[in-house]
């Protein structure tokens, strides 16, 4: 149980609560037994379907009942339904799970059922060719219908729902994973630039939202790979954004982690020196900033590893050593790490 306050109840209060619960408990157990018995006898009826609706409203974590519900649809309902009816049923399923998610935004099974619904939406049937002689009219080609029309409409709605979910909890990883699923599988692909704009909006409303920074790193990687964005140009703009965030709150871990991604593992000498200088300036303003010091050590170590012949390595090693010792007192929880890094550094470059 997450975030449920412990309340100490008297034996009398507990007994009263139990009594109040008894009726609820009995009807829950009865419903469960009925459903599991129907499932065993492969009852694919509409009545059984309605009972699963009732039970899942009380307990959306009952995965066996979600499975049974899908079995009923696949074996009972769909075979006797038209494509239009199937589409209507799946729309109503999506609607039910939207309501459930508002109450239980972190239940795996609800998200899972949504994916199944989306993937199960049928193609729109093409209109049958008109019988010309009977109609006594000139031959006309029936207008073609987009076979993926229903799917497109449903997937587009999903984007709206997932944004509502992320408005309610901008760190919900179920919602972010679902969002990436929609983005990658949707029949109406959304431009990467739109997703980048979405992460900008999320970050601007809260710099601490690492989920949005993470998504941004993935979107940029895709844009660079596809050539949709120029690597150098977009990185420069990102460094401006990150620097601004660092100055706004130098203790915000999210920004520093993203900065590390932006610098990458193989930065040029010029880039490293520029970023080291910018962080040093911030440290001068905020002399106790753990993240300034920790990042300086990281980037200075990269200097040594990648550009040793181009820098005064003795001086850089000395800087790292001094910073690591200071970190041990500024951030004592991780003192053993800083001690180990210093030991390794001295062993590697002595």
């Amino acid at each position: 149980m997450h975030g449920v306050k412990r309340v100490r109840q008297s034996p009398e209060a507990l007994a009263a609560k139990k009594e109040k619960e008894q009726a609820k408990l009995n009807s829950y157990l009865e419903l469960t037994q009925t459903i599991l018995a129907k499932k065993k006898s492969k009852d694919w009826s509409g009545e059984a379907f309605d009972l699963t609706t009732k039970l899942l409203q009380v307990n959306p974590e009952f995965y066996t009942v979600w499975n049974y519900r899908r079995d009923i649809l696949l074996n009972g309902t769909f075979p006797r339904s038209s494509p239009q009816e199937i589409n209507d049923i799946l729309s109503s399923e999506l609607h039910i799970t939207t309501t459930a998610l508002k109450q239980h935004p972190k239940v795996y099974w609800i998200w899972n059922h949504r994916r199944w619904c989306l993937a199960s939406i049928p193609d729109v049937p093409q209109p049958a060719a008109v019988d010309e002689q009977e109609q006594g009219q000139a031959s006309t080609e029936p207008a073609e219908v987009d076979p993926r029309g229903w799917q497109k409409a449903a997937w587009d709605r999903e984007m709206y729902i997932v944004e509502k979910m992320l408005d309610a909890d901008p760190r919900n990883f179920h919602a972010w994973n679902y969002r990436r699923y929609i983005l990658s599988e949707s029949p109406t692909p959304r431009p990467l630039s739109a997703e980048l704009a979405y992460t900008t909006k999320k970050i601007e409303s809260n710099f601490s939202n690492f989920s949005a920074w993470h998504q941004r790193s993935k979107v940029y990687a895709q844009m660079w790979e596809s050539g949709e964005a120029d690597v150098e140009g977009s990185k420069e703009a990102e460094f401006d954004l990150v620097l601004n965030a660092m100055y706004t709150d130098p203790d915000d871990q999210s920004v520093w982690v993203y900065h590390r991604w932006l610098v990458g593992k193989t930065p040029s000498l010029a880039l490293l020196q520029r970023e080291i200088k910018a962080i040093q300036e911030l440290l001068d303003e905020q002399p106790d900033s753990k993240w300034c010091m920790e990042s300086l050590v990281h980037y200075k170590q990269l200097l040594l590893q990648r550009h040793r012949s181009e820098v005064n390595s003795k001086e850089v090693i000395g800087d790292c050593s001094r910073l690591l010792r200071e970190l041990r007192s500024v951030d004592p929880d991780r003192r053993a790490r800083y001690a180990e890094l210093e030991e390794k550094l001295l062993a590697a470059f002595a």
């Binding site: 149980m1 997450h2 975030g3 449920v4 306050k5 412990r6 309340v7 100490r8 139990k18 619960e21 609820k24 408990l25 829950y28 157990l29 469960t32 599991l36 499932k39 065993k40 009380v58 307990n59 974590e61 009952f62 995965y63 066996t64 979600w66 499975n67 899908r70 795996y108 998200w111 899972n112 994916r115 199944w116 760190r171 990883f173 972010w176 994973n177 990436r180 990658s184 601490s208 939202n209 690492f210 989920s211 993470h214 998504q215 790193s217 993935k218 915000d252 871990q253 999210s254 982690v257 590390r260 991604w261 990458g264 004592p332 929880d333 991780r334 053993a336 790490r337 180990e340």
Partner: protein, 332 residues
């Protein structure tokens, strides 16, 4: 101020043992039935916690075995979370773990369980939880762990399986639930442990990951699961197990974390909660105790962080991988 001997700073083993024993006796409560989809997992959590506290026999062996067998799903060939529930990977792993702890694997049809598990692997290497199920690295670990405990890891395509984990690795060294997902301590545990079981730890970017894990500790001593999130006792295990696999448990402040976990105990009713003052449950009880074991808390048994089972048992099965917790401290 609490003194060193105050109940809030000591692990109240008898209370927790009683709490776990009582869990099975609450079948007249609604909450008990609303969590039946977790029953098999809960028994594994409770039993493992009891093993750590040296009270393995607090639950009746025969009762447990017959319960596990009653959850067998004949159609699918796996175990459900409760009687008449569908087979699922999560409950199947718990069932296997319970039976291994009780030395009762001979009670089940291992070949069918192995086929059930292998049938859930997708071409990408990831595993689904059941026939309709979602796929993620958590379920992949579940499959790898179970196959290893059943002595059938050789039936698995290791390259393909490890290959999926590698695709979920992020620049911060962490791992996400699926490709493209944000690093999360829970996923870091499952991915590191699965790679450890498959002898593929060379795929881990150890420097970045150990840094990211060490940064999970908050000023109050507790650990969070992602940057800029709140602490929670269950992360004590997810983060510490991964640190133990990387042999870097000393990169966080053990004393502060120990105090945080102990402060989340219910000193009257037993059990451990996600945070101090919250309602306890068996999930946070095992992961709090597991964390304390890795931190060398006196009087607890050693926990194998890769399998989340008693270390001695894993060693006796010849499955022990490289890991290191803090040395066990002597009782004060």
């Amino acid at each position: 101020m609490a003194s060193a001997s105050s109940p809030q700073q000591t692990l109240l083993i008898p209370r927790h043992v009683q709490y776990i024993k009582d869990l099975g006796q609450s079948s007249n409560e609604l909450g008990y039935h609303l969590t039946s989809h977790l029953r098999m997992n809960a028994i594994y959590w409770g039993l493992t916690a009891l093993c750590m506290m040296g009270h393995k026999d607090a639950l009746d062996r025969e009762d447990l075995i017959s319960y596990v067998k009653s959850c067998w799903d004949e159609e699918a060939g796996g175990f459900g979370a409760h009687r008449d529930h569908d087979a699922h990977l999560l409950s199947t792993l718990s069932a296997v773990q319970i039976l291994v702890i009780l030395d009762a694997l001979d009670e089940i049809d291992v070949d069918r369980v192995v086929s059930f598990i292998l049938s859930l692997q997708h071409p990408s290497g990831v595993f689904a939880g059941d026939r309709y199920g979602e796929t993620d690295t958590r379920l992949l670990y579940t499959a790898v762990n179970a196959l290893s405990l059943l002595g059938r890891l050789s039936d698995l395509d290791i390259e393909k399986t490890a290959g999926y984990i590698v695709k979920c690795r992020n620049f911060d060294g962490g791992f996400g639930a699926v490709m493209g997902a944000e690093s999360h301590a829970g996923q870091v545990f499952v991915c590191c442990a699965a790679l450890a079981i498959m002898d593929k730890l060379d795929e881990v970017d150890e420097d970045s990951l150990a840094w990211w894990l060490a940064e999970r500790q908050l000023p109050n001593g507790g650990l969070n699961g992602r940057p800029e999130k709140l602490e929670d006792v269950c992360y004590s295990f997810w983060v510490l197990s991964a640190l133990a696999i990387l042999e870097k448990v000393d990169w966080i402040d053990a004393e502060k974390l120990t105090a945080f976990i102990l402060s989340a105990q219910d000193i009257e009713g037993g059990g451990i909660a996600d945070r101090p003052g919250d309602e306890v449950d068996v999930f946070h009880t095992i992961f709090g105790i597991a964390g304390l074991s890795i931190l060398g808390y006196p009087g607890l048994g050693d926990l194998d962080p890769v399998y989340c089972m008693p270390a001695e048992l894993i060693e006796s099965l010849g499955l022990r991988k490289r890991w290191r917790g803090l040395p066990r401290r002597a009782a004060p």
